[in-house]
């Protein structure tokens, strides 16, 4: 085996330019696969992290009627906060959020919005809720930067909102924007206004009620509560995972094609090499190899392209990938295009499993396409091969 490796290496290097062309193309697929997968992993991580920090914490209880995709459910999606959760809320490890439909009237226009009530003292989410504690001439609210831009609102602006209370009666008041926050999570930003929980509860005449409860600790076991749906962290990030999976399929089509091209070049080299190197094959047999062993030798030689590609790929790939991971990659899409968390700049994450897995896949496929044409050697007549007369 050691001899075969040495021989294969010598032969490959001896073949010169052709080998290096194959190796470089193969190394492209190598680096590309790792880079592309790294971006997805980084994206997945960052999106989940943003969601955790801005919206879902470690998981949520939803009122049984609550459906985030249907605003009309909101009218009924509230209930008194379950008493058994009181301790958690008291400790600051859980926050109730009340949600209602409303309308905002910036500069005489109108837009449907969600009014979200939250405790200004909460520490679970990154929302700057402390600014809801500001003393101003109207109800203090905070909004996201996309919401602010869409409605040309600025900190300090006063604007009118309108809503229907629990009895179905319309009411209106002025709010004052005390903070505009910037986030990658559109579901806490677009068309939303965050108010102090107490204010919203009294506006809606729903004292002590909530639509959902967000808790901090992901790992802690939670009880099922009647009329509340326990939404685990996993369930809440499922959409992200689904999207990443879809992206991943699209991506793999792209680099599979590149990998196939590289493999085709190696396959071609093998076919040609077996034809051109008949005399050499005959010589190996004359020197005491069985034809099967020569098949093995040529297979190792072909498979070794992958080893060289890994080395070459590492030479330019490692600095490149590290640079990517440091500076990030700007994708030119916004969260709004996707409906959930996407940062402007993605920071790829490369795991050991990713690198080793990719190496194994490339090594395996290269070896297979090298073995395939090499099988022909086993059927060669060595005396004909020695004369170089095989067609």
């Amino acid at each position: 085996m050691k001899l075969a490796l040495k021989l294969a290496y010598k032969n490959l290097i001896g073949a010169g330019l052709r080998t290096w062309l194959n190796v470089i193309v193969l190394s492209f697929s190598f680096v590309l696969i790792i880079a592309a997968k790294g971006i997805l992993v980084g994206w997945d991580r960052q999106a989940k992290l943003d969601m955790t920090n801005w919206e879902i914490g470690g998981g949520q209880y939803w009122n049984i009627n609550y459906d985030p995709y249907d605003a009309f459910t909101l009218e009924d999606a509230h209930a008194p906060v379950p008493s058994q959760l009181g301790a958690d809320i008291e400790a600051g490890d859980m926050i109730p959020v009340l949600i209602a439909q409303g309308t905002i009237y910036p500069e005489g226009r109108m837009q449907s919005i969600l009014l979200k009530g939250i405790d200004p003292d909460q520490t679970i989410l990154e929302l700057p809720t402390r600014k809801l504690d500001t003393l101003v001439g109207a109800t203090p609210v905070i909004i996201g930067s996309n919401m602010a831009r869409a409605n040309k609102l600025e900190v300090g602006d006063y604007v009118t909102i309108r809503w229907r209370d629990a009895n179905g009666t319309f009411d209106a008041t002025d709010i004052c924007i005390t903070e505009i926050f910037s986030t990658n999570v559109p579901t806490v930003d677009l068309a939303q206004v965050w108010l102090p929980m107490d204010s919203l509860q009294s506006m809606l005449l729903l004292s002590g009620e909530a639509t959902l409860l967000t808790f901090r600790d992901r790992e802690k076991p939670r009880d099922e509560i009647a009329n509340w749906k326990l939404m685990s962290y996993k369930a809440l990030v499922q959409d992200i995972e689904e999207m990443i999976k879809t992206k991943s399929v699209g991506q793999s089509i792209f680099y599979t094609i590149l990998l196939l091209l590289a493999l085709l070049a190696i396959f071609d080299t093998q076919v040609l090499s077996i034809f051109r190197r008949q005399k050499e094959i005959g010589t190996y047999v004359a020197l005491g190899y069985t034809r099967r062993e020569v098949v093995g030798l040529f297979t190792i030689e072909g498979g070794m392209h992958a080893v060289l590609a890994a080395v070459v790929g590492a030479l330019y790939g490692i600095p490149l990938l590290i640079w990517f991971a440091r500076t990030g990659i700007t994708l030119g899409v916004t969260s709004a295009d996707y409906g959930f968390a996407i940062a402007d700049t993605m920071y790829p994450v490369y795991s050991g499993t990713l690198v080793i897995g990719t190496t194994l896949v490339v090594l395996l496929t290269t070896t297979i396409v090298s073995y395939w044409p090499s099988r022909k050697i086993a059927r060669m007549n060595p005396t004909e091969a020695l004369r170089g007369r095989l067609q």
């Binding site: 010598k10 001896g14 010589t283 005491g288 034809r291 099967r292 060595p382």
Partner: protein
């Protein structure tokens, strides 16, 4: 003679498929070679010299008849056994040298020893000895494309001889060489035949080679024509 018999063929017949019919290249050859002979198969092109040499070298098998080489029946060997016979006991020299082009002279000669798993220092000594026999100790780092034809063939001889095989099979070893190189190589082989008692079997129609042979086996149209032993 009988007890030091190294190659023996009985009614050796070799047929090749030729389209729908068959072509008979060897027609019932009976031949015996003793250890240490310096013999050659002589005959015109197409007479079956190479075919016979290849069968003796276990690169091919007889269609009919018996071929015994070093007490092994060539027709009955498995691929593994045949490969082992070649690896351990046989040396080949070809008309077109068949050296490994990406390897140095040293590595080409070393190759058969690596196949035999001969350890480092011993191996090195054997390689250098073999290169000394053929007078190439000053070219060990060169690669075959940088050598002349005569030098290439000397490397090939060193490669065939390095493991001190029982039999060396040489098919037209001088066909690509000029007269001076041919004589040089033949003298080298005569010397090795004497010193190492290696059996040599040539296939040739080169007068220069024929003049060195101790035994001349003439083939004609796949049959044994004449068998002359040179007395001296």
């Amino acid at each position: 003679m009988e007890d030091n018999l190294i190659i023996k063929t009985e009614k050796l017949t070799k047929r090749f498929p030729m389209g729908k019919s068959e072509f008979t290249a060897l027609k019932g050859i009976d031949l015996s070679l003793g250890t240490g002979e310096f013999a050659g198969l002589i005959g015109p092109s197409g007479s079956g010299k190479t075919t016979l040499l290849n069968i003796v070298g276990s690169l091919d098998t007889p269609s009919e008849g018996k071929v015994i080489v070093l007490d092994r029946s060539i027709g009955n060997l498995t691929a593994k056994e045949a490969a082992r016979l070649r690896k351990e006991k046989l040396g080949f020299i070809f008309q077109n040298y068949n050296l490994l082009a990406v390897h140095t002279v040293y590595e080409n000669v070393e190759f058969p020893l690596l196949l035999l798993h001969i350890a480092g220092t011993e191996r090195k000594r054997m390689v250098l000895d073999a290169l000394e026999w053929v007078g190439l100790t000053d070219k060990i780092k060169q690669k075959p494309p940088q050598l002349s034809g005569g030098e290439c063939q000397r490397v090939a001889i060193a490669r065939a001889m390095v493991k001190k095989p029982s039999i060396v099979l040489a098919d037209e070893p001088t066909a690509n060489l000029d007269a001076a190189n041919s004589h040089n190589i033949l003298q080298t082989m005569v010397k090795l035949n004497k010193e190492l008692k290696t059996t040599f079997l040539f296939a040739t129609h080169d007068e220069k080679v024929i003049s060195y042979l101790k035994r001349k086996i003439y083939l004609l149209d796949g049959k044994l024509d004449k068998d002359e032993t040179v007395s001296n």
